[in-house]
Symmetry: C2
Subunit: 388 residues, 2 copies
């Protein structure tokens, strides 16, 4: 069992109408706030007005960066960092889903760097300081609201790179489940697939580790499986949206990692897919997950699948382990493609095999040699091929 | 479902030989450190030397307060606060179990108060500042290493009062499971009973709440039930000690409370028992727990017992709910008294009914009218009587 350091200092206001505390939190950090967001949905929903009112109540000066993309681009990071430097911004306020929060983290870091923010992603420079970040989450998926990492795309180089620095951890996150009522059926499904995969990437690990964390992960997965269909059927179901929202944070804030050697598998592969084809991250993960699980199943790993099948899907524990394992993969696929209704193949979303070798080559640079089941370029190509 | 604020900023170093990081953490907080501890066990074990070496490495000046009692007394709080004021202490270093850490929290608070620390417990004054606290945990039980509360006894008034202030939250906690290898069989059992009860006090609640938190609590309880007997049989089993240690923190750090109305039942009763008879907190809780569960079971509460029985003890879900409920209480009692081997009645530990009315009167002042099942003085007396 490995040692670990637990350090998740983000303060979370959870629930409806908690936004009234925003001005109290904002003014702890200075006088000038840069509001970052994506498309215009926060204007349509009225959230923009609420936020502006809170900034006024805090007696602070407001600056804005709108138009942050899904799969956020390094251009947006640079644009935000420029505003921070020019206007001497004190605190960042990200309003949106994982893309906006991820982008804002690197804006906060790049504000202290004289150069292209892409240098941070390519490790030409390191991050020691970051402007304080407060966020208002509008989509339950990536968990960026409670971790110190983010993923940025560079369309010029066709790269999509993830990076974590403790100083980028949000100071305060506002999680109001009602803000996710308007999330579309498709994005709700992609969010559920994303958080399920975050847990599976940690759970499937042959390291000897803390039983108590496995029980937590199994509970989180059961929560996703129970409430994602409810949220799809009744988008305004508070209980479902609340369970999904809090689960998305805990799926990836680092708690469940304790002591496990971390080497994720589907994420490096999916980052290549969405870097090249700009697909939704959760959809890419959904397509990859059952094929990855199938590829990694053998006599040396079957015990983990058995545990998963029995404890998450309630499969009869008296069946043969290999039988339980196969059933658990089938039930995972059924959840992703039937219950969530996500597209199940790369072919369906217009992706063919032409870039598989290139993507495989880049994927393995992410450390796949140390994954749950070590994967080389040929393995990754085989998994991509199984997704056609 | 109620709103809540999640705020648990304690950094935790978990694992063996993590103490080498102590000097890095200590020196962030100043020049003068007050080491607080209980009896001499940390000298016998060699831990004291390690700590002194780390303080030296940090280049800090060391002061000491030894002899903090189990069920720590207000005298120790005052003695510690006096040292802090006289020597201008910058940071407190608590080495021990819940009693030492609890006491140290109030020392840190009382360092900013000119008067008897008991005024803090009786709410004659409030706590707005506290010296920074770092701790090294040597007993898995109370969870004080990751929360902002503590309980202090006053032998003069025969009171035992608990209080929470966010500023008393430890900055850094060192959790090394090997430091609990030497914990006696009896104290290991009391610790397991304590953490199990912490979860039950939150879990048994008819509030509509987050399913995901119930799954987490069920996992933590299964962890205690699985690993406490292992630790009793093999005190040096790292996996068992590690699971119990991390579970004890998460049982009561506030995470599982999210959105639940909090009104604990057994704790106010047990505090009266240990205030008057100075028994081990976990033992008092063990004796009370099954009687409290029995007393609160009726048609309006049976659904929660059913959930507990099925998900924690694996009782057949097709049985009648009331049958499952009764079996779950029996299995709880069996765990506490047979598996853990704790004494099962007040009579066995020399406590008779002579103070039940007085204790019942004081217990209900703790807010029992709003508990899982509201309890008045007659109810509490009945529960005490069932413990004879």
């Amino acid at each position: 069992m490995n040692n670990f350091v637990y350090d998740i200092p983000t303060k979370v206001y959870f629930g409806e109408n908690q936004l009234g505390h925003l001005h109290e939190e904002l003014r702890k950090y200075g006088k000038k706030v840069l509001l970052t967001y994506g498309g215009g949905s926060i204007k349509k929903s009225g959230l923009y007005e609420l936020v502006v009112d809170e900034v006024k109540k805090a007696g602070m000066e407001l600056f804005e960066l709108a138009g942050i993309e899904p799969n956020p681009r390094v251009y947006s990071v640079n644009a935000g960092a420029d505003i921070c430097k020019k206007e001497n911004i004190d605190v960042l306020l990200a309003v949106g889903g994982g893309s906006v929060i991820d982008c804002t983290k690197f804006i906060g870091a790049a504000a202290f760097y004289d150069g292209n923010a892409w240098d941070i992603l390519t490790e030409k420079t390191t991050v020691e300081k970051c402007l304080p970040i407060i966020d208002i989450l509008t989509l339950a998926a990536t968990g960026s609201e409670m971790d110190s990492g983010g993923v940025i795309s560079n369309p010029e180089t066709k790269d999509k790179i993830g990076m974590m620095y403790p100083v980028m951890q949000p100071k305060v996150s506002f999680l109001d489940p009602t803000l996710t009522y308007s999330v579309s059926r498709y994005q709700t499904a992609c969010g559920a697939a994303d958080m399920l995969n975050h847990i599976l990437e940690v759970y499937f690990n042959m390291n000897q580790d803390l039983f108590m964390l496995d029980t937590v992960m199994e509970g989180l997965m059961r929560t996703i499986i129970k409430f994602a269909p409810v949220a799809l059927d009744k988008p305004h179901d508070y209980e479902a949206r609340a369970n999904l929202m809090w689960t998305s944070s805990w799926a990836i804030n680092g708690f469940v990692n304790g002591g496990k050697r971390q080497a994720w598998s589907c994420h490096p592969m999916e980052h290549e897919l969405s870097a090249l084809y700009d697909i939704t991250h959760g959809l890419g993960l959904a397509i990859l997950t059952p094929r990855w699980l199938t590829y990694c199943l053998d006599e040396t790993t079957v015990s983990k699948y058995y545990q998963y099948g029995v404890n998450v899907f309630g499969i009869d524990p008296t069946l043969l382990p290999m039988e339980v394992a196969k059933m658990s993969i089938d039930m995972t696929a059924e959840f992703l493609f039937k219950t969530l209704g996500l597209q199940s193949t790369l072919t369906e979303i217009g992706i063919d095999s032409s870039n598989f070798e290139l993507m495989a080559k880049k994927s393995v640079q992410g450390g796949l040699a140390y994954a749950f089941k070590p994967l080389n370029e040929a393995d990754v190509t085989a998994i991509f091929t199984a997704c056609l």
